[in-house]
Assembly symmetry: C2
Homo-oligomer: 343 residues x 2
């Protein structure tokens, strides 16, 4: 059964006439080490000659570290953002010579349990949990002492990496204000504030939005509420707010998909963007750059969150420090395209 194995330290030892221990030292020992430079040279030559690649399983068994981090995510598929998060994670991990093992879970807690067990079995050094909606979730209790982060979510015993929504909400409104808009409509406020198991940070986005409006002494010219942020909400919302406030100059949408629906409705009515109404939103998914005019939006930093999450893990691993159960917030940046007009 046993697969044909590759060359081992013993092979190199044989080839060079040295001992395995020496070969090991030569290959992995620190720079100012105790092995003669000439020997090191000879060993390295033999190694590349033979196509030697150290067996990570053996090394891990011996050292107790796998140089592998785990990533378990809910619904990798459903989302347009998972790829960016994974990318950030991989960049950070590869740069520090760690491998990444992934698993996916859905809402079934049992599947989550299995994924965590698999990670535990493979003795990963650290674990990142990635969520596609910034919810609060339950994760299986930590058994070893591997550091954990949760990206775009909240969980016990996990340091959280989150989008910094409050300033983003504020920035969006301020952008509109800065361009001279005063009669603004809002589409997509949740009918009732979402529970933390549904969304942990959307409340903050709305707070920022409201604070900026309040400080400017303004109220929304019209509002259409709704929690399902898809184009349909934008179409319906646009129709409603236009009816309620025909003189509005800008529409702030909950996210790009809603904004897309707003575009559809406005264009169906023969209204021009941004001449007749400006539109702005949140997310910056790929769609935003394809819309016409291209959509001005606050970019959700998925890639950065992945990168920061992995870095946090790797730093904790390197320093041996405990990854405190704090929070790290990543700012959203304004992507200023063509859907907001200066009045």
């Amino acid at each position: 059964m046993a697969r044909r194995r590759g060359p081992t330290l013993a092979d190199i030892a044989q080839a060079t006439g040295l001992s395995v221990a020496t070969v090991s030292q030569a290959l992995t020992g620190k720079e100012g080490a105790r092995i003669a430079p000439a020997t090191v040279e000879r060993v390295k030559e033999a190694a590349t000659e033979l196509g030697y690649v150290a067996d990570a399983t053996a090394r891990s068994l011996r050292t107790g570290r796998t140089r592998t981090i785990g990533f378990v995510s809910d619904q990798v598929t459903v989302t347009r953002f998972a790829a960016a998060m994974v990318r950030g994670l991989l960049d950070a991990a590869e740069q520090r010579e760690h491998a990444v093992m992934i698993a996916e879970v859905d809402s079934q807690p049992e599947r989550m349990e299995r994924a965590f067990d698999a990670m535990r079995a493979h003795r990963i050094d650290g674990l990142a949990v990635g969520l596609m909606a910034d919810r609060e979730v339950q994760v299986p209790p930590r058994q070893g002492r591997e550091p954990r982060v949760i990206i775009n979510g909240l969980a016990d015993q996990c340091h959280a990496v989150l989008p910094d929504e409050q300033p983003a909400g504020r920035a969006a409104v301020e952008h509109l204000l800065g361009r001279g808009h005063r009669r603004i409509a809002l589409i997509g406020r949740h009918p009732v504030p979402p529970a933390p198991e549904v969304s942990a940070t959307i409340g903050a986005r709305m707070e920022g939005i409201d604070a900026a409006m309040r400080e400017a002494g303004l109220e929304f010219a019209a509002e259409h509420r709704g929690g399902l942020w898809e184009p349909e909400l934008g179409r319906e919302g646009a129709a409603r707010v236009l009816e309620a406030a025909p003189d509005l100059t800008a529409i702030l949408a909950a996210n790009d998909r809603v904004a897309f629906g707003v575009y559809q409705e406005l264009q169906a009515r023969g209204l021009r963007i941004p001449e007749d109404a400006s539109v702005m939103s949140f997310d910056d998914e790929e769609l935003a750059s394809m819309m016409r005019p291209a959509l001005t939006t606050m970019r959700l930093p998925y890639r950065e969150m992945g990168e920061v999450g992995a870095s946090l893990l790797l730093d904790a691993l390197a320093s041996g420090a405990d990854l405190s159960a704090g929070r790290t917030k990543i700012p959203l940046e304004l992507v200023d395209r063509a859907s907001v007009r200066t009045l």
Copy 2:
């Protein structure tokens, strides 16, 4: 340094008063095995009691198999499809109790080399290479005897899993024909047929399209060529074909993004879809369902390709058979939505 380790077989042996060998057998032995059922029971209890999870690194070192497959992909980020492919892969792998390790490469061959070395170091049992454009690529030569597949691409020594483009091209045209369309425009044929390093299968799609037209005794009412399949091409193309063939009834676009551009141009001209012109395309990215009217398109089976790729690997692993360097083609299916009118 060594991390605090979890419970081992020895701990269970101690707790039950049995030997490690017996415990190992009890936990992993085949059903009709040689261990007394009562003993098995006792061991399992102790194991869950202690929270035992077998150390995969130790097991791998011993057995020579890691029960892990690797996935290296180019540009996980860039693409809207990577997530689906990964999802398919994970589903197949998890179902058969294998873990998945991922790495990403870009165009630099050196990074590819590094990724493959990392996979080799971790002694993965099989390797899937995923591409985002169905190109032909060079991969580092195989060193061990691990099976390899390439998904959505072509490479030496790799079994290829590809979308079956020829019948898909045919099916698209036939759908239009079946709905009574005769004056059809095509947007997005490459100005010159793409080299295999650029696209290995797009040629086949065009062949299918042309064959179906030919068999119906038809020629395209107008054509606009272009290789960069983004909305801009659709906008420009729509303008051109409308000019060249004002009486066209349908437009076949190279992909959904191009179709999106076509929508934009038609709607800007006050034309209605599908009343004034039907539109159909290829891919079925998420965008297609958000467009209005929802877009009829041929779905590229990324998820299935991931799943099939992993299954091929896992089957080869289980049977010990060599994964022949053949090809497996996965059909595209018609997603019939609302953008094609019956004449």
